[in-house]
Amino acid sequence: METLITILIGVLVTVAVYLLLSRNLIRVILGSAILSHAIHLLIMTMGGLKKGDAPLLGENSNSYTDALPQALILTAIVISFAVTAFLLVLAYRIYKETGTDNLNELRGFNDE
């Protein structure tokens, strides 16, 4: 199961890198969103997938699943959600202001 998820992570990272390298601003943002999904899966896989029962006091089991990666992922998801939302608004403002979403045309430092 871990191997399968790891391959999936690899595929997601590949897709994300392809999107990040494009010139279109929206694609770059989508790329960063997919990249964050890949890392969340990686954190979960690194903690080990389901190894036992839910880590609750009432359960009487010999082994419990590690709950910490899920707590980490939850925090990371919220953060990446906020950043993606901010980026989308920024992309919209840039489009309104400059009339382009092509990163090649947004290059360079002008002294106004």
């Binding site: 954190i43 953060i79 920024l90 403002r93 840039i94 400059t98």
Partner: protein, 494 residues
């Protein structure tokens, strides 16, 4: 030692930020609240610093979860010195903001964002948990995204997209490092990590993970990977640029110093050599940049990069005196970079120009500003009795002890480039015939010159009164050199 007080330097700015949101249209109220809050936080932080020196490292386990299970804050001399400096610099920058930030910005939540930024910076200094460090970084970065785009001028938007993209990517690498580290040693508490890494030995896998962290913190600090820095530090309003120049790269450097002295200190011939090489390239690149441009904001931004390279020479060498020098220089650099950015911003405000060759003879119109720039220049170049001197002496002494003469030579050579790049500004902008006639002269606001003079006094005071902070700095360097002190303070059950 458990103590609830060490949560205050982060909680007060956070609450202040939230409270300020409700006073959106009452600018005067916002100013009063933010000033009171920052001074109160500063007072508490100085008290904590004092307590750390007398009682040893303080810690706070949130929710009563004992380490290594819960998240905790740890206050040692190193982090508290940086917290205190951050708050001093912010308090002075606030004064400058009162007179320079347009009313429209103040109504668009400038102060709340500033306080969230401070909460993130202080949280990063105080946390004792690697994932919590990531969260504090994000708090700081999201506020910085908002601050860099505030105003929405075209150049700000275009520069901010680079700044945000590069930071999103580096946050991704941070999570990657955390995931691998958790997978290989099964903990994220820094003290516990240090113990576990020492137990299993820092093998090839852990060294690779440490290099992922090096990559992340280099992106944040501007070590070698600084291409995003000059552009994004040139775009925002003066106060925001000063805040970024003074604080943000320092947080990256703090994290790097912490991680490579506490956790990954077993393979210095790989990791610390790499840091040394990166520092040298940064120094060369920064020096070339600082003398290549004619744009005031660019020159100032490249000076930030040079200081990053110089400070991390101390980490690359990692002897006790080099680390002392690093701490002195970090404190000095926070103060003097804020000062440099404020002066550059004020010059641009007064003349309306950014190219240095289009200005001349400003010292006849604005003598105080000119002399303060002169003081800044000497302080950055490391002339005694100003504050840059002591840090350079200690880093130099540490490099000699370790026999790192190439690092030493290039580090000190960079001072000459700093001096030359700033001397060029001084000659072009302040000397010569004045080209501003008396009736065209824009009057300099009191609220602008007072913070500049305050920071100038501070850099002088820090140079002359270095004895006053010497016990704190040597305690901090001692803790950095002996990770066991930190581990004992965190893992001790009491």
């Amino acid at each position: 030692m458990m103590n609830n007080i060490i949560a205050f330097p982060m909680i007060i700015p956070l609450l202040t930020g939230i409270i300020l949101v409700f006073f959106r249209n009452k600018v005067i109220v916002q100013r009063i609240i933010s000033m009171i809050s920052i001074l109160a936080t500063l007072g508490i932080s100085i008290y904590i610093l004092q307590k750390v020196l007398s009682n040893g490292i303080l810690r706070l386990d949130f929710g009563g979860w004992l380490p290594p299970y819960g998240i905790l804050f740890v206050a040692d001399s190193f982090s508290m010195l940086l917290v205190v400096t951050t708050l001093v610099v912010t308090a002075i920058l606030l004064v400058y903001a009162f007179s320079s930030i347009p009313k429209a910005f103040e109504k668009m939540f400038f102060y709340p964002f500033l306080f969230f930024l401070i909460a993130g910076v202080v949280g990063s200094f105080l946390t004792g948990d690697l994932f919590n460090l990531f969260v504090c970084f994000e708090v700081m970065l999201l506020s910085s995204y908002a601050l860099i785009t505030l105003g929405g001028r075209k150049i700000q938007l275009v520069e901010s997209i680079k700044y945000i993209s590069i930071n999103v990517l580096s946050s991704w690498f941070f999570l990657l490092g955390i995931a691998y580290l958790y997978g290989s040693v099964g903990t994220l508490n820094m003290a516990h990590l240090s113990m576990r890494v020492a137990e299993v030995g820092q093998g090839p896998v852990l060294t690779v993970i440490s290099i992922i962290f090096l990559l992340v913190f280099s992106l944040k600090a501007g070590l070698l990977l600084y291409y995003w820095l000059p552009g994004s530090y040139s775009a925002p309003p003066t106060v925001v640029a000063a805040l970024f120049g003074a604080l943000l790269t320092k947080v990256g450097m703090y994290a790097m110093i912490r991680v490579f002295t506490l956790i990954f200190y077993h393979e210095p011939q790989i990791t610390h050599t790499l840091i040394g090489i990166m520092a040298v390239i940064t120094l060369i690149g920064g020096s070339v940049g600082a003398i290549a441009y004619n744009d005031l904001r660019r020159i100032v931004s490249y000076n930030v990069i040079i200081s990053v390279g110089f400070i991390l020479i101390g980490l690359a060498v990692s002897t006790e005196s080099a680390l002392q020098g690093t701490i002195y220089y970090l404190i000095h650099d926070m103060i003097v970079k804020a000062l440099l950015f404020l002066i550059a911003g004020t010059i641009i405000y007064l003349t309306g120009k950014t190219k240095i060759e289009k200005m001349s003879g400003l010292i006849q119109n604005y003598p105080v500003l000119g002399w303060m720039f002169f003081v800044t220049m000497l302080s950055l170049a490391g002339i005694p009795p100003l504050s840059g001197f002591i840090g350079k002496v200690y880093i130099g002494q540490g490099s000699i002890e370790a026999g790192a003469f190439i690092l030493l030579g290039i580090g000190f050579l960079s001072s000459i480039f700093v001096l030359y790049s700033l001397l060029r500004i001084f000659m072009n902008c302040f000397w010569g015939e004045t080209i501003i006639s008396v009736e065209d002269e824009v009057p300099i606001k009191k609220g602008m010159i007072v913070p500049i003079v305050l920071l100038g006094i501070l850099t002088f005071g820090l140079g002359v009164g270095v004895e006053a902070i010497a016990p704190y700095v040597s305690d901090a360097a001692n803790t950095l050199m002996n990770p066991q002190i930190y581990i004992d303070a965190v893992m001790k059950r009491n």
